[in-house]
Amino acid sequence: MAIPICTMTPERKRMITPEEVEHIGWLARIKLTGEEKEQYAEQMNDILDYFGKVDEITTDVEPTYHVLELHNVFRDDIASGSLEQDAALANAPNKKEGFFKAPRIM
């Protein structure tokens, strides 16, 4: 059976640049200084080199998708109570008329 695998390109040969670190920071909505970008680029490259070592091992085993041997854990389709609105919003730093208030993100 043809399974439509969406491949994640590892691109392990390529070195992580400070520009890529900036992009990764943007994905997490974290602003980094120039110095941090340099520092993290170096650290990430070290980590990737380490994975490169793991890559050298020849393997012919099925990938592990889950560490447990379990499968098929379900619950019945029954609705039970939800949190009160006040409780749901209790940890929110900003709220308005029952909504969580978040910064505008484009």
Binding site: L27, N72, I78, A79, L83, A88, P103
Partner: protein, 478 residues
Amino acid sequence: MSARTEDGVIIGLEIHVQLNKLHSKLFCSCGLDYHNAPPNTHTCPVCLGLPGSLPVLNRSAVKSAIKVALAMNCEILPQTQFYRKNYYYPDLPKGFQVTQYDYPISVNGYLAIERGDGQGIRRIRINRVHMEEDPGRLVHEGTIDRSKFTLVDYNRAGVPLLEIVTEPDLRSPKEARKFLNKLRNILEYLDVFDGDLDGAIRVDANISLAGGERAEVKNISSYKGAERALSFEIVRQRNVLRRGEVVVQETRHFDELRGVTVSMRTKETEHDYRYFPEPDLVPMRVMDWVPTIRETLPELPEAQRTRFLKDYGITGNHAASLTLDPKLAQFFEDVSAAIDPKLSASWIVDVLKGELNYRDLEIDSFKTADMIEILKLFSDDVVTEKGAITIIRTILDEGGTPDRIVSEKELAKVKEDVVTSAVDEVLSECTDAIADYRCGEAKALNYLVGQVMKKTRGRADPQDARTGLLEKLDSNET
């Protein structure tokens, strides 16, 4: 749209439908009856993504997904699992969406639609049908590009969704709309989906002109919107080419109010989502559910339409109209058990449905027993066609039962001798009209029929009046 403008148009759809006939969310027990509820009243630690909470999968959601997949002729995969799709946006409380990626629940299906140019059938391949959770709802104060902040309601977060992905096999906006209508029809027959609920369906469309790059149009939230967004996008891409420029691959946002698509700057690409298997949910092996689910699948609209044509001998148009709505089809079958099916189909589709639509009512508002009684009164010649319509309207507007309405509104058709005497009276009174008729003035006959109807206060069958008049006029009795 002319055939020429459809040349070279390539469209693929990603359709998100809520499994909104279920009772609870995909991974927690929060209810799905949130549509008129205040914000953030249908949430819990799981769908708010609070630390330490763990998801447990709704069994019925998986069954619904299999039903839909089978109805779309898909293969079910022996092992299927969830992934985390990571992106940071306020509609996701956890910072990722639980969805499927490799190993979706089903792949490789198809749905056949009538081609947009009417020249036969086109088979639209389905790449996959997979399960995922709905994100929360964002409310922007003012317009999306002006508001200073975003308000978030997580009532919708975690609602079970199916994503249905087609191959780029659609060739016009019209075909896209036909496909969506057909899909909705099937989902409603499967009883997994109510398309009338707000946010029940959302569509992303990939569209390109032959040889060009494709644009992805997001935020289409209605069937009409899909056709409009795609038609706009075709014109836009054609204009780009006409100016000698090239269409760039990009994501565009459909602005439903203005009916236009606008470019959305996105910095995320596929691998930025960093998909990985969801460690909090174990894989599923559900192949052994498939035979039972397949056996219990209801008759789908297309099969039902074919059976209606074959078993009842009704017209293609009537069969098509009746099978747009499973409840209407059932109503027809119930009425046909007692009444001639052709007569039933004609009255239900051509009369009752129109009266219901006019009042914005559904078929549930009319009793099968009432329809049977009305059609009996009509076929037994107790009431005229007009009288039967009056009963239907009266039931819808004021209530009541057919027999009471007949006596209260004096709808019973008058006896033949009453018609005959009315005809005689008219013929003795309207000598001018008779003279006109004899001089070849055909309209004069209509006038005479009108006079008979007037004398019987509309309770004569106009056809009887006409026949009676003609008999006497032609036999020169006057």
